[in-house]
Symmetry: C2
Subunit: 235 residues, 2 copies
C-alpha cells in the first residue's frame, strides 16, 4: 500500500507537515507533484468529483481523497496507530494540531496581509505592520500554549517517550519560525525550553534525520509559508 | 446530561457554529459566559490544566474539555449520530467543516488584516485593500466550492434529506456574509442557488426557527466575526 500525496512542488508549505509524518513513520507514499509537476496537480484536483479538496495538500488512498493538514494527520494517526491509543488524549492531540493550523495561517498572513492574490512587494507596507503585531502579540501567545502542552508529560514529546504527529509539527513550526524570524526567535528561545527540546528530539528520530539529510527535504524559500524577509524580523 | 459551552458573550462569533448544532439537535447545554459573564470565561480558561483550549469556543463534558469549532462539531456528530453513519462520508464532512473554518478566519482578517491586537479604525486603510481582495478573489472561490459540495446529493442538505452540522454552518456563513457584505452577496446570489437553498432549508428546521426567534440568538454586530462596515462592501 502506498499513498499519493499531492502538494505544490518546490515549497515545504503545508505539505511538509504531512511529509514529516509519512517519513517519520516509514509510511510509503509518492509525492506526486514533485514527480509529475504542478500542472499535474492542477489537473488532478480539477478532475476530482464528489466532496473534493478545496486546496492542496491532499492525500489519496484508492478512491478516497481528503484534504486539510490536521484532518489528514488525524486520519493517518488512526490508520497507523500513531496516537496514544486513548480516545480522550487523541482528541486533545487533534485540538493541538488545529492550533498549529491556525498559527500556520497567521504566519502566512504576515507576508500576505492584504491577500494571497497579490505579491509580497504589493503589500509590503501592510506586512511591516502585520509582522510587528504577529511577533509581539501572537507569536508568544502561541509558543506559550505549546510550551504548556509539552509540560503535560515528562517529555520530550507531547505524549512523553513516544513521538506522534503533533511533535513533527512542532518541530516544523520551530524550524520555520526560526528561518522566518531568526532575531525574534533567538530572543524568545530561553522562554520555551520544551519547545526547543522537542525540536531537537524530533531531529534525532532516525527516519526524520535521514529525511532531513535527503533531497526530499526542500529548503525553506520565499515562495513558501515561512519566508525570511529581514525587514519583517526584529528581536 | 448537559454540556457547558464557553464563548464570549455578546457576539455570535465562532461560538455560533456550535450553538446552531446544539440548538438544532435539541442537545441540552448551558451557555456559560452568557450566564456568568466574560470574566468567568477568562477565569475558567486560565484554571484549566493539561491539554487546555487555546481560545474559546470550547465545550465541556465533565472532566473533558475541547476547543476548535470543527473539532467540537466532529465530536458532537460522533456522540449524537448527527452524521451520515458512513465513515468515508463523515470524513468528507469534517474536511468541508475545516474549509468553513478557513473562510471564517479570512472573513475576520478582512477587518483585522494587521492584527487582532489593534482596533479596526487603526487598520482601516489596510482593511480596504484586504476587503477588495477577499470579495473579488477569495469569496467566489469558497462559495463555488460549497456550491459544488451541495451538488453531490439532490439536496437541500449536503447529505440530502438529513441535515448535519455542515448545513447549519453553511447557513451561518450565508447569513454572516450577507450581513457583512450585502451588496457583494446580492450580486453573487444568482451564481449559488444551492447555497441559498440550504440556508432557507436550515432556517425552516423547527428547532432552528425557534432558536432564531428567541433571545438566545444574538444579533450580528461590529464586535463579532461578520461585521458590516459599508466602506468594505461593493457589488
Amino acid at each position: 500500500m502506498s499513498y499519493d500525496l499531492w502538494y505544490w512542488p518546490g515549497i515545504q508549505g503545508r505539505g511538509e507537515f504531512v511529509r514529516l509524518v509519512l517519513e517519520g513513520a516509514g509510511i510509503p507514499y509518492r509525492d506526486r507533484a514533485r514527480e509529475d509537476g504542478a500542472e499535474a496537480l492542477v489537473r488532478d484536483l480539477a478532475a476530482r468529483e464528489g466532496f473534493k479538496p478545496f486546496a492542496p495538500p491532499y492525500i489519496v488512498d484508492g478512491a478516497f481523497a481528503t484534504a486539510q493538514v490536521a484532518h489528514i494527520l488525524a486520519w493517518l494517526t488512526d490508520r497507523h496507530a500513531l496516537g496514544s491509543g486513548d480516545l480522550a488524549t487523541d482528541l486533545q492531540l487533534i485540538q493541538l494540531q488545529l492550533t498549529v493550523t491556525d498559527l500556520v495561517a497567521e504566519v502566512h498572513d504576515v507576508h500576505h496581509p492584504v491577500g494571497a492574490d497579490k505579491y509580497y512587494h504589493e503589500q509590503k507596507n501592510e506586512a511591516l505592520r502585520a509582522a510587528a503585531s504577529f511577533c509581539n502579540a501572537r507569536l508568544p501567545k502561541y509558543l506559550g500554549h505549546f510550551e504548556g502542552a509539552l509540560g503535560v508529560t515528562e517529555g520530550p514529546f507531547v505524549l512523553g517517550a513516544k513521538w506522534s504527529p503533533i511533535d513533527t509539527s512542532l518541530f516544523q513550526l520551530v524550524e520555520g519560525l526560526t528561518y522566518a524570524f531568526p532575531q525574534r526567535m533567538a530572543a524568545l528561545k530561553p522562554d520555551y525550553p520544551r519547545l526547543h527540546a522537542v525540536r531537537d528530539a524530533v531531529a534525532r528520530i532516525d527516519r526524520i534525520a535521514a529525511y532531513l539529510a535527503s533531497d526530499r527535504r526542500i529548503a525553506f524559500n520565499e515562495d513558501g509559508i515561512f519566508r525570511h524577509y529581514p525587514e519583517l524580523d526584529a528581536a
